[in-house]
């Protein structure tokens, strides 16, 4: 009888311990974040913390940006959902590449063009968390690093590219294509740099490592980035036929068609 009580007591303690552990775990990661795929456990802890610290302000700012969109322009909610859905689809497509390996596009370019880069930081982060938890793709410890590459660097480069293309009067479709393509490439370049910083080669240091990781991530990514560019133009074409009002509201659309 005594023994049973001890076991029950022990179980209670264990339950408390597990609950606390989970609470701490989730409190440490208060916001959803997305990873362009540094594998779980493959960054030394210092780098994990650093990249989390870098990414967090962008996520906070992004949440504010989304809140503002939803409250100021409720008619754009559906379009915001669409740009999130686009990330979901594209990051599930593992496409073979010329290097004989597979990788997948990111899909953040579309939303970055439509809603600005920080809104996509949040959307990208959600997909990263989903893939880290359910697919063992990316990771929770490496989430900060992955958010930085896929949900911050990618969208910002895409956004800047689009703005630049428009300011020098390139056609809209070309701006969209270049933005999505370069944003995608940038994501993987940043991932390679993050890996190289954490694992400098004993012989040659950062540069040698960077070349090595770049050859894995970025080169495979070139054809996929072009694919992403094309797919983004396809969706943008559809939007410029059916969602003229929304695009006008986002001032992406001045007179007529995108092509």
């Amino acid at each position: 009888m005594m023994k049973l009580e001890t076991i029950l007591d022990l179980m209670k303690r264990l339950k408390l311990f597990i609950t606390t552990a989970f609470l701490i775990y989730f409190m440490l990661i208060p916001l959803p974040a997305f990873a362009m795929h540094v594998m779980e456990g493959f960054l030394p802890i210092g780098w994990c913390v650093l990249w989390y610290a870098v990414s967090l302000p962008f996520i906070v700012y992004g949440l504010r940006a989304i809140k503002k969109i939803v409250s100021d322009k409720p008619s754009l909610k559906m379009l915001l959902g669409l740009s999130g859905a686009f990330i979901f689809v594209l990051s599930a497509l593992k496409i073979p590449s010329v290097t004989g390996s597979c990788s997948h596009p990111t899909g953040v370019g579309l939303g970055a063009i439509l809603f600005g880069p920080t809104a996509m930081t949040v959307m990208g982060s959600i997909v990263l968390v989903f893939q880290a938890l359910l697919l063992a793709h990316g990771g929770i410890t490496t989430l900060g690093a992955n958010v930085l590459s896929m949900a911050i660097a990618g969208p910002f480069v895409a956004y800047a590219t689009y703005r630049l293309c428009r300011s020098i009067n390139l056609p809209q479709w070309m701006g969209v294509f270049l933005a999505a393509t370069l944003g995608d490439l940038c994501t993987y370049t940043v991932t390679a740099i993050e890996m190289a910083l954490a694992f400098p080669a004993t012989d040659g240091g950062f540069t040698v490592s960077a070349v090595k990781f770049l050859s894995i991530f970025a080169v495979t990514q070139v054809p996929l980035a072009v694919c992403e560019g094309l797919l983004t133009v396809i969706v943008f074409n559809v939007l410029s036929t059916y969602s003229v009002e929304e695009l006008q509201e986002l001032s992406l659309f001045s007179n007529k068609g995108c092509n």
């Binding site: 379009l79 669409l82 359910l134 090595k212």
Partner: protein, 104 residues
């Protein structure tokens, strides 16, 4: 628009399929796995200090989850486009019937 998009989609498929035709003997593994090998080459004694909380038990289960992810996304995109298209047709219809009424 439809014609343009079909051409773009065709280009996209070509880009994805060409590697399969060129490298008939390649393994087409994920870049993540190759990065793991590269880390081992650079720092052989590195031990990952955290494992994924849950790993899909097989590649079939993983592909199920990937398919669900894509399906969820595509479901919403399809809904959005269908909704927008119907709305546009409706406003178009309304405006033409108004126009007709004025004539009566």
């Amino acid at each position: 628009m439809l014609c343009k998009n079909v051409i773009l989609l065709f280009l996209c498929i070509t880009i994805a399929v060409t590697p399969l035709l060129i490298h008939t003997k390649a393994s087409f593994t994920g870049t993540d796995d190759q990065a793991v090998d590269a880390v081992k080459e650079i720092k052989a004694d590195y031990v990952p200090w955290m494992r994924p909380l849950w790993t899909p038990p097989s590649s079939e289960v993983a592909s199920l989850i990937f398919a669900l992810q894509a399906a969820a996304g595509m479901g919403f995109i399809g809904y959005y486009i269908g909704y927008k298209r119907a709305m546009r047709q409706k406003t178009f219809k309304d405006s033409t019937s108004e126009h007709a009424n004025k004539h009566d």
